[in-house]
């Protein structure tokens, strides 16, 4: 603040000089008030420029997606308050691709961002591989078991036929014991019993073959089941997560892989 000079005169001219000094002070006061008002208006304008809006994220999948705002802030929520203006959004969910998009947030309003994150190519490939793996494993196990079931069925049918042949032979033996007709006994010994003997022998051979087949089938089933247990299940490497994280742990066959991403902006 500048000090106003006061001029004193001996002939009464002192009053006029006093009036002029008073006007000058008033003008300076008005200028000060105007500047203060301008600052206040500017402050109000600035405060209006920092107003926020709400962004509601409607993302498929809705339960486990994450996003990064303006390539700085990583979050995991369904709504976010952002300052008005254009924002960069990177969205990602496990097994999905990273989707980058720009969003304009309007102050004091709720905007919806509807995004469907497509499955990542690695995940699609993994799904195909796992389906192929499971189908191969299922058939490798089921085929010998089906063969074993066939072998056991064959064994059961052969055993039943063997039992029937035994019953026929037992009936012939009983018939021989109680028969009182020499001619019938001769026929029994010459034709009936030899035929029953042959039937029993054939049935027994069938049972042995079927049993052997079943044993081999069981061994094959055991071998294939154990062999499929040692097969390596395809692993899903979520490269999109690596991209999203820039820092990730990738589980692997021999323990895993620790991956770190480093971005250096050479333009600055």
């Amino acid at each position: 603040m500048r000090t106003l000079p006061i001029i004193a005169t001996s002939n009464g001219g002192t009053a006029s000089s006093m009036w002029e000094a008073t006007c000058s002070v008033r003008m300076q006061f008005r200028a000060m008030r105007t500047i203060t008002l301008l600052f206040t208006f500017a402050a109000v304008l600035l405060s209006r420029a920092q107003n926020t809006g709400t962004l509601r994220l409607l993302v498929d999948p809705g339960h486990n997606f994450e996003f990064i705002v303006d390539k700085k802030f990583r979050m995991q929520q369904r709504e976010i308050k952002l300052t008005e203006g254009l924002h960069d959004m990177s969205l990602w969910a496990p097994e999905r691709m990273v989707v980058d998009t720009m969003v304009f947030v309007v102050a004091d309003r709720t905007s919806d961002l509807v995004v469907r994150l497509p499955f990542s190519p690695e995940y699609v490939t993994y799904r195909k591989e796992i389906a192929r793996y499971q189908q191969k494993k299922r058939w490798t196990r089921a085929a010998p078991l089906l063969v074993l079931a066939g072998g056991l069925t064959w064994t059961a049918v052969s055993a039943m036929q063997y039992g029937k042949a035994k019953d026929v032979l037992d009936a012939d033996r009983e018939n021989y014991t109680i028969n009182a007709d020499p001619r019938a006994i001769e026929a029994l010994k010459a034709e009936t019993i030899p035929a029953a003997n042959k039937e029993l022998k054939n049935a027994r051979t069938q049972v042995y073959l079927a049993s052997g087949f079943s044993v081999v089938s069981a061994a094959a089933a055991w071998y294939f089941i154990h062999r499929t247990n040692t097969w390596q299940r395809p692993l899903f490497e979520d490269k999109q997560k690596v991209k999203f994280d820039g820092l990730a742990w990738m589980p692997g066959r021999d323990g895993g892989l620790f991956m770190a991403g480093l971005t250096i902006n050479l333009s600055k």
């Binding site: 056991l152 001619r183 003997n197 069981a218 089933a221 055991w222």
Partner: protein, 140 residues
């Protein structure tokens, strides 16, 4: 399916088959039925006693030897009617209803004192004969 279940099935099947194993009938050893021509068991006829009697045939005196024989029907597989054939391979024999209590009397005429007489006896049915044995007696 676990290994234990597979093993149990295989072991069970083998055990079952082993337990149920049965051989064919050996025809060479099938000779226990008295009505079987190849019968090789205990004697079916047992000599009980004999007597020599003098008779006159057409005015000529001669001696007849009568032997009493028991038919061992307990060796039959079941109670049944039967025939006894005496020195014959086929044809009608003595029906069982003519053999009360299984006691049979057979005769041979015109024998000399001290002469041994044998009969070949067989059991049968329907004109065919099975097992049997020889029975001998000595005339007095």
């Amino acid at each position: 399916m676990s290994t234990r279940i597979l093993l149990a099935i295989v072991v069970g099947a083998i055990t079952l088959l082993s337990a149920c194993k049965k051989d064919e009938i050996d025809l060479a050893t099938l000779n226990t039925n008295p009505f079987d021509p190849d019968y090789a068991g205990a004697p079916l006829f047992t000599f009980l006693s004999s007597e020599t009697v003098s008779v006159v045939v057409n005015g000529t005196p001669q001696r007849n030897l009568n032997a009493q024989v028991r038919v061992n029907t307990e060796l039959f597989g079941r109670a049944t009617t039967y025939q006894v054939g005496v020195d014959q391979e086929s044809g009608s024999g003595i029906p069982s209803n003519a053999i009360p209590n299984g006691l049979l009397t057979i005769s041979r005429g015109n024998v000399q004192p001290g002469q041994e007489v044998c009969w070949s006896l067989r059991v049968g049915n329907g004109g065919a004969y099975g097992g049997g044995n020889r029975v001998c007696a000595t005339a007095e």
